[in-house]
């Protein structure tokens, strides 16, 4: 069942079109990713869904509610963690939780939620004394305290160190396990690949692809590469005759075999037949990064510039 339906969404600031006719649907209980470079229109899109911004065109429905018309009802069922939003410096964690719980008709037990998010020891700490990761966890907790049906998480892990980022990923999976539909905005490929059930890749305010992460990668018809260092002399011909192999190159001692299909199996079988040991054997497969390049013709990291 689709719980969020976005149709032909448009939004412009001054004369710059930021969201240009986006349409997508989010299923109940899934982690739906919105991936794209900075300035692609991701945040504007979710801010329209959360009722924070008024679209210039198109329709949005969240559990049957129109974010502009049914704002108060919508805020009861949508929890959002925002980029660049802080709490007052001297506000303590438990106070923030209790305060935000008081805003909702059916809040969860905020003490239990605080403990679930590993903030119990920090209950009496002022906001200004929290680490970046702890602030993010509080921000997630505040987005969940009203027992929402939909959680919107915007650039949750930006600015976190890799360890804290991985911890946060586990948290997001826990959120989904609570039965909450998650709308995740990110510009990290790895994050989208790891977490999302489905994702929309947005660029220039338009959806350029929408699929499961595996589906997106599979669409990229990219050659596979197998790299290894032969333990004894290897005649390239042994490999080039294989139907799976398109080319064999050598970089110093390393052999790079490019090809399609079940390349790894084909190469290792031949090597085994001739009793050649393959050292540092490695296979390279297309990633979401490659998918992005294939879809936009640009490198993802550079797409924003």
């Amino acid at each position: 069942m689709s719980v969020i339906v976005v149709s032909e969404l448009r939004k412009q600031y001054d004369h710059k079109v930021v969201v240009d006719g986006l349409s997508f649907e989010v299923e109940e209980g899934e982690i739906f990713g919105i991936l794209g470079p900075n300035g692609a229109g991701k945040t504007t899109t979710v801010e329209c869904i959360a009722g924070l911004r008024k679209p210039d065109g198109g329709t949005i429905s969240v559990h049957g509610l129109d974010p502009q018309r049914d704002g108060t009802k919508l805020h009861q069922i949508v929890g959002m963690q925002m980029q660049q939003s802080a709490m007052p410096d001297k506000l303590r964690v438990a106070e923030a939780m209790e305060l935000y719980a008081s805003f909702y008709d059916n809040p969860v037990d905020w003490r239990a939620l605080m403990a679930d998010l590993g903030l119990k020891e920090k209950a009496d700490s002022a906001y200004e004394k929290l680490s970046g990761g702890q602030k993010q966890r509080l921000s997630i907790a505040l987005a969940l305290v009203g027992s929402p049906k939909v959680a919107i998480l915007d650039e949750l892990t930006t600015g976190l160190d890799p360890g804290a980022r991985r911890d946060t990923w586990e948290l997001i999976e826990q959120v989904r396990d609570r039965g909450i539909t998650v709308l995740l905005v990110t510009h990290f490929m790895e994050e989208a690949e790891r977490l999302c059930d489905r994702l929309a890749i947005i660029d220039g305010g338009k959806i350029i692809a929408l699929d499961t992460p595996t589906g997106l990668v599979a669409k990229v018809d990219q050659d596979q590469k197998v790299r290894f260092r032969p333990g004894s002399t290897l005649d390239d011909e042994l490999l080039t005759v294989l139907p799976e192999v398109t080319s064999v190159e050598r970089h110093h001692q390393q052999v790079v075999v490019t090809g399609t299909g079940n390349l790894m199996h084909a190469v290792t079988s031949v090597l085994a037949q001739h009793q050649i040991v393959a050292l540092d054997l490695r296979s390279e497969q297309a990633t979401l990064d490659d998918a992005f390049i294939a879809l936009t013709g640009r490198r993802f990291d550079h797409a924003a510039e």
């Binding site: 959360a50 009722g51 924070l52 108060t72 805020h75 009861q76 949508v78 959002m80 925002m82 660049q84 939003s85 802080a86 709490m87 007052p88 001297k90 506000l91 106070e95 209790e98 305060l99 935000y100 008081s102 805003f103 909702y104 008709d105 002022a126 505040l142 009203g146």
Partner: protein, 245 residues
């Protein structure tokens, strides 16, 4: 209502955790009463002032404490809340951001009342300053002054973008306005023209309202009009210009 009560309680706690806030609005005014009252000459009738120094300065200190509250605390808190995205965060909850503004104003109104009690109480108990005899006239002067100043504070919060700008603007307004309230040079010693101009400035009019109330029981009509006009102009301006983000 539950959310508003909780917000107000939280804003109170935050105020009491902010030493700069409670020092300037609660401690400093009382300390000033004690310091001025402790100077022996301030307890004798001065021929220039036509009153004892401490009697002359008590209403000025009261107005000053309201000005410190409304010109510094109100704008810096609200601009800071906007700058940090606190108002934005609240706008996606069912209660919305307007209630935090109400909570702030409630806290500041209560602080103004507490300061009044402390300043007048200290002046009366320690230095025999006469308490306002006409409670109604005093209340009118209090409501007009605090209302007018909070409207100016809200207006500042509406047009200023950063806490730094809010603090600078607070200082830029506070010191000249306090001049006309007579804190540096008693009004009686100013040239007539300057003293008359002073009566039409926000803090000059506020001090006049309290003095009128003490002398005749009620603030004079013209003072009421001046204070109410400032309140309306800045209040309407704030309502039109205030942005949540």
């Amino acid at each position: 209502m539950r959310a508003l009560n909780r917000l107000t309680a939280v804003e109170f706690k935050l105020f009491l955790r902010d030493p700069a806030a409670y020092f300037w609005t609660l401690i400093f005014p009382v300390a000033l009463v004690v310091i001025i009252g402790s100077v022996p000459s301030s307890r004798e009738v001065s021929p220039e002032l036509g009153a004892r120094g401490i009697d002359y300065y008590t209403p000025i200190i009261l107005v000053m404490s309201f000005a410190l509250l409304a010109l510094f605390i109100t704008p810096t808190y609200l601009v800071g809340y906007r700058e940090k995205g606190i108002l934005r965060r609240l706008s996606i909850t069912p209660v919305g951001p307007a209630r935090v503004l109400l909570a702030q104003l409630a806290v500041q109104a209560v602080i103004a009342v507490v300061t009044t009690v402390l300043v007048l109480g200290t002046a009366a108990v320690a230095f025999d300053v006469k308490l306002p005899s006409n409670v109604l006239g005093f209340l009118l002067a209090f409501l007009l002054t605090v209302g007018m100043l909070l409207a100016i504070g809200l207006f500042m919060a509406s047009v200023l973008k950063t806490t730094k700008a809010a603090t600078s603007a607070g200082s830029a307004l506070f010191f000249p306005l306090m001049f006309f309230a007579g804190i540096y040079v008693p009004k009686e010693m100013l040239p007539d023209a300057l003293a008359t101009i002073g009566d039409f400035t926000p803090l000059g009019a506020a001090v006049l309202a309290f003095n009128d109330a003490a002398a005749t029981g009620m603030p004079s009509g013209i003072t009421v009009i001046v204070l109410a006009a400032y309140a309306v102009v800045f209040g309407v301006g704030a309502a039109r210009l205030f942005r949540w983000e």
